[in-house]
């Protein structure tokens, strides 16, 4: 049976890519003296797998990594020991045996911050409301499988719910999006907004994963 870690990736660690993060975990387990399962085969290597790869530059407080704890530490000791062996910005919160299948992870709650350095235009909020309330919102998405180099995806059915909040220089979109098969990258929402309302295009957008959810909207662990 596999074990899981719940961890966050914020601050400077946001810029560590998915592959680099896997390598960082493999080394950190060794540094922390935690023995983990290895793949079998000619070139054995430590087995770690991250549930939903996170784009470079996104922060998260709910990342899930699967591995197999063999020894060197108890599950209770793992979070503190491993955090100490990590680069700045990665904090391990929990280590526990996996009880549910990863495919039960259905939704991701993102906090998407649209920043306006000169102050937020009043009409940006109704504009976003309008956009996300459409019947359908088709965007082009890069694809390696398609001959054209992109496929079309309708965003609306992949948005389970959203909430908007305004401050003087930010517009915060709190959205629950489909996680996998297919999932929705929140970058597409930003792109759709800038395409539909170029006059309200923000100066900068940050993306943060707040929670991963199951089909009923409960936290997935």
């Amino acid at each position: 049976m596999a074990d899981r870690l719940l961890f966050s990736k914020t601050g400077r660690a946001k810029y560590i890519s998915h592959l680099d993060l896997m390598r960082t975990f493999q080394r950190a387990f060794t540094r922390a003296g935690i023995e983990i399962k290895h793949t079998q085969g000619f070139h054995k290597h430590p087995f770690v797998s991250i549930a939903l790869p996170l784009s470079v530059g996104y922060s998260s407080q709910c990342e899930i990594l699967e591995f197999g704890l063999v020894g060197g530490a108890t599950a209770e000791e793992v979070p503190a020991r491993l955090t100490a062996a990590m680069p700045e910005g990665i904090i391990i919160h929990q280590c526990y045996p996996a009880e549910r299948k990863l495919k039960e992870l259905a939704f991701v709650n993102y906090i998407i911050n649209f920043e306006y350095s000169e102050g937020r235009p009043q009409a940006s909020e109704p504009a976003m409301q309008e956009l996300l309330s459409r019947e359908s919102l088709v965007m082009q998405k890069k694809s390696n499988k398609s001959k054209k180099g992109y496929t079309e995806v309708d965003l609306i059915p992949l948005i389970r719910g959203f909430n908007l909040e305004c401050q003087s220089d930010t517009l915060t979109l709190d959205a629950v999006l489909c996680a996998q098969n297919p999932g929705l990258n929140p970058e597409l929402i930003r792109a759709a907004f800038c395409q539909a309302y170029p006059e309200y295009a923000p100066d900068f957008v940050t993306f943060h994963r707040r929670e991963v959810l199951d089909i009923d909207g409960n936290p997935f662990r």
């Binding site: 601050g11 400077r12 660690a13 810029y15 560590i16 890519s17 680099d20 993060l21 390598r23 960082t24 493999q26 080394r27 950190a28 387990f29 060794t30 540094r31 003296g33 290895h38 070139h43 054995k44 470079v56 530059g57 062996a85 990590m86 680069p87 700045e88 910005g89 100066d203 900068f204």
Partner: protein, 612 residues
């Protein structure tokens, strides 16, 4: 993190190079720090982070109270563009603070083609390029590394150069700097004083005059600066700092592994090799200590790979003992142990087989020259039979590829020597046919040639680099000779960078204008084909009224005053001249352990005895 930086990072490639925050990166409380040092490497993060010297200095400096050493690398073009657009000054990775606010900015200079990056980084930091245009004491611009044995092309930009190994002298000049800062010395006062520390070369304290033909007439020290500045070494490697705890990057770098430095120096005395002369005398580390360091570094880093490093690892006296002990540790933990810089002899092959039980990496040999006559002339004491025997062992053991490195244009080389390379490669192929257990798998023999660059402080410092057309002719000769051998691939090094290396490695300080002009016209990352533009350099030389051939292709007189006459590696000029004469007679010099050849480097050690 700085907001501007946060807005830039999503737009650039591999942003993890620009963030810091790696495991073991040292962050100090600024209130406890009185001196801040920016350790700069004039190339990308991936290359600079792989540099062992920088790892040592970083660890060593950060052990000191009140001193905080941070890192800084050359941003790639996309990052530079964003930084300039947003007005973000070059910053140190640990704190994110602009390096222009630091006390000392130190560059590591390992290769000439990084010089323009030094200028570009100073400019990105918002600092004037020339020392004379920076009248304040801070920030001081210093440089170390092997290029400093002839730092003249950078003389007007850098306040002072550090010759040799930095472990001790770095702390000495920082101590002097602290005194200067406390007592409010002027920059001139400080430079005059720092020039008195052995191993420190302050270029502004030397006046250079030239003959009408462009050669140096005299180099005159002023303000009490020494006529000769001799490099520094660490006498006892067992007492010297070893970086057990090093920064583990969160993204991939070039040498992403534990580096275990066995010894410094080399006993061989290859006549073309600057490192072979510049790192004398040989000083080894105790194998017990090394094993201890290696294990501790693996545990601290989590690395699954360790490499033993030195100029010629086969010459480490306790290599078997050390490898056995390390293997006992590494094998059960699946840690790969690699041993580059092995000589092509039987002993080494046995060792390779033991080390590479699991992973068979590539096999690379550097015979350097194609015939025994020329190998003798350059004192590369490698016998053909040794090389072939090594290949037989390797092929029997299942290796199916070997790389052979050579240089073209070595002094005394004839067409016979060039064609000798093809013959040697064919003999290696024959070995494969005789020894391989599996002929169906085929073999890949790669022959690579580079264009020989004569270096200062070597036996060939007087010699000319052959002209580019002649190099090209010899390349064509060899290419034609290897045309029909389908199992042999021939690669040759692009001659343009080698020509510039030949100019700058033995250049004088007039070349500073060429550097600056080329930089102004966009030169940077000249060791990267993405950025290198040969024409830009030719234009810069022309604009400054200098001839590249004068530096690259000219044979020097025996008594010519070299631009690098002040820096000394401790090897006497007479010895180097004698070595050159032996070359022209195709005579060899035995290695240092067989017989002392009296180079002069023994004076660095107590009692004047090398024991390596």
């Amino acid at each position: 993190m700085n907001r501007t930086l946060e807005h830039i990072l999503p737009k650039v490639q591999k942003p993890a190079r620009y963030t810091g925050g790696e495991y073991n990166a040292v962050v100090k409380d600024k209130r406890t720090v009185d001196t801040r040092f920016a350790l700069c490497f004039p190339d990308t993060y991936e290359i600079g982070m792989s540099n062992l010297g920088c790892r040592i200095l970083y660890g060593l400096m950060n052990e000191q109270e009140g001193l905080w050493c941070e890192r800084c690398y050359a941003p790639w073009g996309d990052m530079e563009e964003e930084m300039r657009r947003e007005g973000l000054l070059l910053y140190a990775l640990e704190s994110g603070d602009p390096i222009s606010d630091f006390d000392i900015i130190g560059f590591s200079l390992g290769y000439e083609m990084a010089y323009t990056n030094v200028l570009n980084m100073l400019d990105l930091a918002g600092l004037p390029l020339r020392s004379a245009d920076r009248p304040e004491l801070t920030p001081l611009i210093v440089a170390g590394g092997t290029c400093c044995y002839n730092p003249e092309p950078l003389a007007p930009f850098v306040d002072f150069f550090v010759l040799g190994e930095g472990e001790e002298v770095t702390l000495e000049y920082i101590a002097l700097y602290r005194q200067a800062k406390e007592e409010c010395w002027s920059k001139e006062e400080f430079l005059r004083e720092v020039a008195q520390i052995p191993g420190i070369y302050v270029p502004s304290l030397y006046e250079v005059t030239y003959h009408a033909d462009g050669t140096v007439e005299a180099i005159t020290p002023k303000d009490g600066a020494p006529a000769t500045v001799t490099k520094r070494i660490v006498e006892d490697m067992d007492k010297s700092y070893f970086p057990v705890k090093t920064i583990i990057p969160s993204t991939e770098i070039v040498h992403d592994r534990v580096m275990l430095e066995l010894f410094r120096g080399c006993i061989r005395g290859c006549r073309f090799c600057q490192a072979g002369y510049a790192y004398r005398p040989v000083r080894s580390r105790n194998p017990k200590l090394l094993a201890q360091y290696g294990k501790a570094a693996c545990e601290d880093s989590g690395y699954q790979e360790m490499t033993l490093s030195s100029l010629s690892s086969t010459d480490y006296p306790c290599l078997m003992e050390l490898c056995d002990e390390l293997l006992d540790y590494c094998a059960p933990r699946d840690i790969g142990l690699s041993l580059p810089s092995l000589r092509a002899d039987t002993f080494s092959m046995n060792l390779m087989e033991r080390l590479q039980r699991v992973r068979k990496g590539g096999l690379t040999f550097a015979p350097e020259a194609g015939t025994q006559r020329l190998r003798d002339a350059i004192n590369k004491n490698l016998k053909e039979e040794d090389l072939l025997q090594s290949c037989r062992t390797a092929f029997s053991g299942g290796w199916s590829g070997v790389k052979l490195y050579f240089m073209l244009g070595l002094p005394t080389e004839t067409d016979e020597d060039v064609l000798g390379i093809a013959d040697l490669a064919r003999k290696v192929y024959q070995c494969w046919r005789e020894c391989t257990p599996n002929r169906a798998r085929g073999v890949r023999i790669t022959v690579s040639t580079s264009w020989f660059v004569p270096k200062p402080h070597t036996a060939f410092q007087w010699d000319a680099q052959i002209p580019m057309e002649e190099y090209q002719r010899r390349v064509n000769l060899l290419r034609d000779a290897l045309k029909r051998d389908r199992s042999i691939t021939y690669n040759w090094h692009d001659p343009q960078t080698s020509y510039l290396e030949a100019i700058f490695s033995r250049g004088d300080r007039r070349l500073a204008d060429v550097l600056e002009t080329a930089w102004q016209n966009g030169a940077k990352f000249d060791s990267w084909s993405e950025y290198f533009d040969f024409q830009r350099w030719m234009d810069a030389l022309k604009a400054c009224g200098l001839s590249g051939d004068f530096y690259a292709h000219r044979v020097r007189e025996k008594d010519e005053v070299f631009p690098w006459s002040v820096p000394s590696v401790g090897v006497s000029r007479q010895f180097l001249w004698h070595e050159r004469e032996l070359c022209y007679q195709s005579q060899t010099t035995p290695d240092c352990r067989t017989r002392c050849s009296g180079c002069g480097a023994n004076k660095f050690l107590p009692g004047g005895v090398c024991n390596g």
